[in-house]
C-alpha cells in the first residue's frame, strides 16, 4: 500500500502521468523554432 492505495493503482496513475510528461518534454526539446 502507498498512501492507502494498492500498489497497482499507485503505479498505474504514476506511469499515466509520467509518460505524457516525458513525451511533452521531448516535443519541446525537438521543436524546430521558426522565426515569425
Amino acid at each position: 500500500m502507498v498512501f492507502g492505495l494498492p500498489l497497482e493503482t499507485f503505479l498505474a496513475v504514476g506511469i499515466g502521468i509520467l509518460i505524457p510528461t516525458i513525451l511533452l518534454l521531448l516535443w519541446g526539446l525537438r521543436f524546430k523554432e521558426v522565426t515569425d
Binding site: F3, G4, L5, P6, I17, L25, G28, F31, V34
Partner: protein
C-alpha cells in the same frame, strides 16, 4: 451558506474588475481581427493560460470534485486526459494552423475548412452551424455550473443567480471581444490556480490526509481505490477499461478540436510559443485538477464518517468541493476568496464559448455566406448581438439543471468530437481527404452522435462512451466518400501544408 457582507463585497469588486477590463479592451477594437483574434497579439503566458482556462470550464471545481466524490480513483484518468487536451490542441492542430494562417490570415477554423476543402460555402456553413450547436450544448453545462455556485454562495433562487452571472459575462464579452476574454481569463486563471493550491490541501488535511481518505474510500467499495472498475455493477462504476479508452479519446481529442479551444491558436503572437506551452499547460492544469479531485475524495470520506452532510438534492455530489471548503475553513475571508475562485473557473470558459458562437455566426455565416460586402462595424455589431442571444438561449436550457453536470458537459464534448475531429485531422494530415468527405464526416458524425447519445441515455447503456461509435462512423464516412470523389488541387494542399507532418519539412 448565508450571504454575508465580506463575500458579497469581494464578488462585487471582482465583477467591477472584469467590467473594467472589458471597458479597457473595447478601446483596442478597431477591426474584426481585433475582436475575433485579439489582433493576433497574445503573448506566451496569456496564450498558455487562455488554453488552460478554455479547456478548464465549470467542470474543474464543480464537476471534477463531484465525479471524484461519486466514483473514486477509477475516474482519476479524467484528470490526465483533460489537461492533455490543451497540449493536443496546440501540437496536433495549433502548430500547423498557426503557420498556415500567417500567409492566409484565418480568423476562425472555419476559414481553414473553407480553404483546405475548396468549399467557401458548404463546408464552412456546415462547420459553423455544427460549431454553434455543440457550443450551445456545452454552454448550457457551463451556466448550470455557475448556477450551482451562485445558489450555494448567496442562498438565492438559481434563476436570479444565473441572470446576474450572465449579465456580467455578457457585458465584458460583448464590449471587449477576445481582448477582454483573454485578459479576464488571465486574471481568472491565476485566481483559480493560486486558490486551488491554497484551499484544496486544507480540505484534504481536514479529512485526515490522503492515506486516511483512501483507507475510508476502500471501506465504502474496495474498487474505489482501484485504477478501474472490473464491470459495471452500479450507477457509479462505469469507468471500466473499455469505457476509459473511449473516455481518453473523448477528452483529449474532443476537447482539443472544440471551436472555442482550437480557435485560440490563431490569436498567439508567435509560433515559437508552441514549443513549451503544451508541457506548461499540461503540468499547471494537472496539478489543479488532481488537487480538486482529491478534495472530492476527501469530502466523500468526511461524509462517510458523518462529519459532513451534503444538501439533499439530486446533484448533491456537484456541491462536494464547496461544502468541503466551507467545512475545512470557517474563516469568512477564505469563503470570500473561494467564492471568487469558483466563479473564475466557471466564467473563464463561458465567455470564450459565447464569443466563439458570436464569431461563427457573424464571420462564417453572415460575412462569408450571406453578405460578403458586410463591413467590420457590421460584423462586430452582429457578433455582439449573437453573444447576447447565445447567453439567453443557454440560460433558458440551464434553468432546469441536469442530475449530474459532468454528463451534460461530456455530451457536449462527445458531439464536438464526432463532428469536428475527423475533418480536422484528415484535412491537416491526409492529402486524399476531399470536400465531400469532410461534409459526409461532419454530417454523419453529428447525426450518429445524436442517435448513439439517445440510445445510451434512453434505450440501453452502451459499454463505451457513445462518441466512440459516432467517431467511428465519421471516420468511415470520411475515408469512403473521399476515395470515391475527386481530390483537392495540389496547389491548395501545398498552401494548407497538408501531409503527414507537423512542422514544415526542409
Amino acid at each position: 451558506m448565508d450571504a454575508n457582507f465580506v463575500t458579497i463585497g469581494v464578488i462585487v469588486l471582482y465583477a467591477v474588475l472584469l467590467l473594467l477590463i472589458g471597458s479597457w479592451a473595447s478601446k483596442k477594437i478597431k477591426c474584426s481581427a481585433d475582436y475575433i483574434v485579439a489582433g493576433r497579439s497574445l503573448g506566451f503566458w496569456i496564450f498558455t493560460i487562455l488554453m488552460v482556462a478554455s479547456v478548464c470550464s465549470g467542470m474543474t471545481l464543480v464537476g471534477v470534485s463531484g465525479f471524484g466524490y461519486a466514483s473514486g480513483w477509477p475516474g482519476i484518468w479524467e484528470q490526465i486526459f483533460v489537461p492533455l487536451a490543451a497540449s493536443f490542441a496546440i501540437i496536433i492542430f495549433g502548430v500547423k494552423l498557426h503557420n498556415i494562417s500567417k500567409n492566409t490570415g484565418y480568423l476562425t477554423v472555419e476559414d481553414y475548412f473553407a480553404h483546405r476543402f475548396e468549399s467557401p460555402r458548404a463546408v464552412r456553413g456546415v462547420a459553423a452551424v455544427a460549431g454553434i450547436v455543440v457550443s450551445l450544448i456545452y454552454l448550457v453545462g457551463q451556466y448550470t455550473a455557475i448556477s450551482i455556485v451562485l445558489v450555494w454562495l448567496f442562498d438565492i433562487d438559481h434563476r436570479i443567480a444565473l441572470l446576474i452571472a450572465a449579465f456580467i459575462i455578457t457585458v465584458y464579452t460583448v464590449i471587449g471581444g477576445l481582448y477582454a476574454v483573454s485578459w479576464t481569463t488571465l486574471i481568472q486563471g491565476l485566481i483559480l490556480i493560486g486558490g486551488v493550491i491554497i484551499l484544496a490541501p486544507l480540505v484534504i488535511l481536514k479529512a485526515g490526509g490522503l492515506t486516511h481518505i483512501n483507507e475510508v474510500l476502500s471501506t465504502i467499495d474496495p474498487n474505489f481505490v482501484q485504477p478501474y472498475y472490473p464491470t459495471v455493477y452500479s450507477a457509479y462504476s462505469y469507468c471500466t477499461p473499455e469505457f476509459l479508452f473511449s473516455f481518453g479519446i473523448l477528452l483529449m481529442v474532443g476537447l482539443a478540436c472544440a471551436p472555442h479551444v482550437v480557435n485560440n491558436v490563431l490569436a498567439a503572437k508567435e509560433s515559437r510559443f508552441f514549443r513549451w506551452s503544451p508541457l506548461i499547460a499540461f503540468v499547471i492544469y494537472l496539478v489543479v485538477m488532481l488537487l480538486v479531485k482529491f478534495s472530492g475524495f476527501a469530502v466523500r470520506s468526511l461524509v462517510e464518517e458523518g462529519q459532513l452532510i451534503l444538501p439533499a438534492t439530486i446533484n448533491a455530489q456537484d456541491f462536494a468541493f464547496m461544502y468541503g471548503v466551507e467545512f475545512a475553513s470557517p474563516n469568512v475571508f477564505v469563503w470570500a476568496l473561494f467564492a471568487v475562485i469558483v466563479l473564475a473557473a466557471v466564467m473563464s470558459t463561458t465567455d470564450r464559448l459565447m464569443l466563439t458562437i458570436g464569431t461563427m455566426f457573424a464571420w462564417d455565416i453572415y460575412k462569408n455566406l450571406l453578405n460578403p460586402k458586410a463591413n467590420d462595424k457590421q460584423i462586430i455589431r452582429l457578433s455582439q448581438v449573437c453573444v447576447v442571444l447565445s447567453a439567453v438561449i443557454s440560460l433558458i436550457f440551464a434553468l432546469n439543471p441536469p442530475p449530474m453536470l459532468a454528463w451534460l458537459i461530456w455530451m457536449g464534448i462527445g458531439v464536438m468530437l464526432s463532428t469536428f475531429a475527423v475533418p480536422f485531422l484528415a484535412g491537416l494530415y491526409w492529402r486524399r481527404a476531399t470536400k465531400e468527405g469532410a461534409l459526409a464526416a461532419m454530417l454523419v458524425g453529428l447525426a450518429a452522435s445524436g442517435i448513439f447519445g439517445y440510445t445510451h441515455q434512453f434505450v440501453f447503456k452502451l459499454p463505451v462512451h457513445f462518441s466512440l461509435y459516432s467517431l467511428t462512423c465519421a471516420v468511415v464516412a470520411m475515408i469512403v466518400v473521399s476515395l470515391l470523389t475527386k481530390p483537392c488541387s495540389e496547389e491548395v494542399l501545398d498552401a494548407t501544408m497538408t501531409g503527414l507532418y507537423i512542422q514544415p519539412r526542409d
